[in-house]
């Protein structure tokens, strides 16, 4: 009798120890995965800084790309990237916000559900296919141009901005909405002058994040703006951009070109990370205000 009790108790203790050991193991595993991800991020950043920082000089920023063997800089890709992303923003911000208003305010619930679903899918559609689409649509008729590149970037950002606009419009308290109506304002006035300003924080965050995504996109630009090793101002002609320059230079055998590619990579990454940090701080501040 006493032996049986002891046996049972032993089994119970074993079970408890095993449960706690398992818990401990999983905790270690979970912290391990975090550590792995942080190590990868740090490794990427260190590699970028070690290889790219030496090329980051006044000369690089103020000189154009040069043929192999000659000293060259990154001025035209930097300007090209800024121009193309700028045009893309001009195209996408109004259309994206309109799409977002449609999703949030359309009275036909079935239709808006379908379009919301499509926008969600579009957010993850391979960017290279968007490039092919714009190639068929614009490049086949007009030839390679910076404008086509901007359209491709805009198409990538459109669903993102539409969805973030919708979500932040939905976050606006309905009391504010109704107060506008109670004052006798028509629907368009309520949406444009009351809801949109109230949803400003979320919309701006969405725009910032999509700018950071557009700045690093390469695949759709391959077939649309083609890249240009020369000075390029005309938006109807091929234009250089930082990601395309990286793609072209990183594969080459020339050491100075590879170095320039690292510098370009460092520039893009710094830009993207800064935008992300700004967006995050902005969101935090808005949350605190509420």
């Amino acid at each position: 009798m006493a032996q049986d009790v002891k046996k049972l108790q032993g089994r119970k203790n074993n079970l408890i120890t095993w449960r706690f050991i398992k818990n401990r193991l999983m905790t270690v595993f979970a912290f391990g995965t975090i550590l792995v991800m942080l190590c990868i991020l740090i490794s990427v950043l260190i590699t970028l800084f070690v290889n790219g920082l030496s090329g980051l000089s006044f000369f690089t920023l103020t000189h154009m790309t040069a043929p192999q063997g000659l000293p060259g800089g990154l001025l035209n890709p930097i300007l090209g990237s800024i121009i193309q992303v700028g045009i893309a923003i001009i195209i996408v911000v109004p259309t994206g916000i309109l799409g977002g208003i449609f999703l949030a305010e359309c009275s036909n619930k079935k239709l808006s559900t379908i379009i919301r679903f499509i926008a969600d899918i579009m957010m993850s559609v391979p960017s290279i296919l968007i490039g092919l689409f714009v190639y068929i649509l614009l490049v086949m008729t007009m030839g390679y141009s910076a404008l086509a590149g901007s359209v491709a970037l805009a198409l990538l950002a459109l669903p993102v901005i539409a969805r973030t606009t919708e979500e932040s419009l939905n976050m606006v308290p309905s009391a504010i909405h109704e107060a506008g109506f109670a004052l006798g304002a028509p629907k368009w006035k309520v949406i444009l002058f009351i809801c949109l300003p109230a949803a400003k924080g979320g919309i701006i965050t969405g725009i910032l994040l999509s700018i950071s995504r557009m700045a690093g996109e390469t695949a759709p630009l391959l077939f649309t703006s083609l890249g240009n090793s020369d000075w390029s101002w005309n938006i109807l002609k091929p234009m250089a951009s930082l990601p395309l320059t990286i793609y072209q230079y990183a594969d080459s055998a020339d050491d100075t070109w590879i170095k320039l590619a690292w510098t370009a990579a460092l520039l893009i990454t710094l830009f993207v990370l800064c935008l992300n940090l700004i967006a995050r701080i902005y969101v935090d501040r808005h949350r605190k205000k509420d």
């Binding site: 449960r19 706690f20 398992k22 818990n23 905790t27 979970a30 912290f31 995965t33 975090i34 991800m37 942080l38 990868i40 991020l41 490794s43 990427v44 590699t47 970028l48 309109l98 799409g99 977002g100 208003i101 449609f102 999703l103 359309c106 239709l111 379009i115 679903f117 499509i118 969600d120 899918i121 993850s124 559609v125 391979p126 290279i128 296919l129 968007i130 092919l132 689409f133 068929i136 649509l137 198409l155 459109l158 539409a162 028509p186 629907k187 368009w188 950071s212 700045a215 690093g216 391959l222 990601p243 990286i246 793609y247 990183a250 590619a261 690292w262 990454t269 993207v272 992300n276 995050r280």
Partner: protein, 316 residues
């Protein structure tokens, strides 16, 4: 009467009309782009589909000299590399989400979540470069010889790890994809984990459950669909990833059992070959047809993931 005379009514009609119609245009644009994307790719790829027929998908030939094109090898490369990516990303992101949501105090986890999300913001071409210059040498010197030693004598499995240790190949591509999609899956998992009712968790703790038991037996069953949806969404993203994969996969048009051999994916094949094909040629049409195949696969995958995620949101 007075209002009518002052032109007030006219005003009242035009602006709302303009507003509603531009709003509808914004919505319709998203719809039209999507339809256009599918239609145009099939339309341009029509020539390749009609020349090769069903062979286009089943065969693995890619020989521009003989005008032989097919999607088989690239399709296998795409599916295998993205599956490796998902298989590696799943435990990583589960561990991260578990740790960030359940184990860490909130004031730390907030910052670490932000840091891990920064990894998702790094453009894919930069991860590709990092993979090419850092990961590939590591793979060829340490990981691949190690795997060959480990599995070299196991029948069947050794086929997967045969061949030279060049560092490039499907396995490396899968690794890069895993790194890229882990932050996405982590974010979705974290969101679904935090949707679990606190009362359920508390009652499990009060019964004496350990943290892992709460995770394993309360939270995971509760959020199953969301987690699966997130993983499938990550898979959808991995399918179409171009730049990072192009750098490390080696780009060779052939299918083999070995994970160490250079191969290619649909996206990397399109990116590489596109500039070398003339408008209107059979090769260009084949590339468009490849795009259409990729579109169909990713559409099906993304559709399923959205359905799963929607169900979770509805049940909330």
């Amino acid at each position: 009467m007075l209002l009518k005379q002052s032109g007030y009514r006219k005003d009242k009609k035009i602006i709302p009309f303009l507003f509603t119609s531009s709003m509808w245009c914004g919505g319709a644009l998203i719809f039209l782009i999507f339809l256009g994307l599918i239609f145009e790719l099939f339309w341009q790829g029509k020539q390749a589909f009609s020349v090769f027929g069903f062979h286009f998908i089943t065969s693995t030939d890619w020989n521009p000299g003989e005008q032989q094109f097919s999607a088989g090898a690239a399709l296998i490369g795409t599916l295998v590399s993205s599956c490796i990516g998902v298989v590696l990303a799943l435990p990583l992101s589960f561990g991260c989400a578990y740790c960030l949501n359940e184990l860490m105090p909130q004031r730390f986890s907030k910052y670490i979540t932000a840091t891990i999300q920064l990894l998702a913001a790094i453009p894919s071409i930069i991860l590709g470069m990092w993979g090419f210059f850092i990961l590939v040498p590591l793979m060829s010197q340490y990981v691949q010889p190690f795997l060959q030693n480990l599995f070299g004598n196991v029948p069947y499995i050794e086929l997967l790890f045969s061949g030279g240790t060049y560092g490039i190949g499907i396995l490396t591509a899968g690794l890069i994809l895993a790194i890229m999609i882990t932050p996405f899956i982590t974010a979705i998992m974290q969101e679904s984990f935090s949707n679990t009712p606190v009362m359920l968790k508390e009652s499990a703790y009060s019964l004496g459950a350990t943290r892992w038991e709460v995770m394993h037996q309360v939270i995971v069953p509760w959020v199953q669909k969301g987690v699966v949806g997130g993983v499938v969404l990550g898979w959808g993203r991995a399918l179409g990833e171009t730049m990072a994969v192009t750098f490390v996969i080696g780009n060779a048009h052939h299918a083999s059992w070995s994970l160490f051999m250079p191969s290619n994916t649909i996206a990397s094949l399109i990116a590489l070959e596109f500039s070398e094909s003339a408008v209107g040629s059979l090769k260009m049409s084949s590339l468009m047809a490849l795009g259409a195949v990729l579109m169909v696969i990713s559409f099906v995958v993304l559709f399923c993931s959205q359905l799963l995620l929607k169900q979770v949101l509805k049940s909330r």
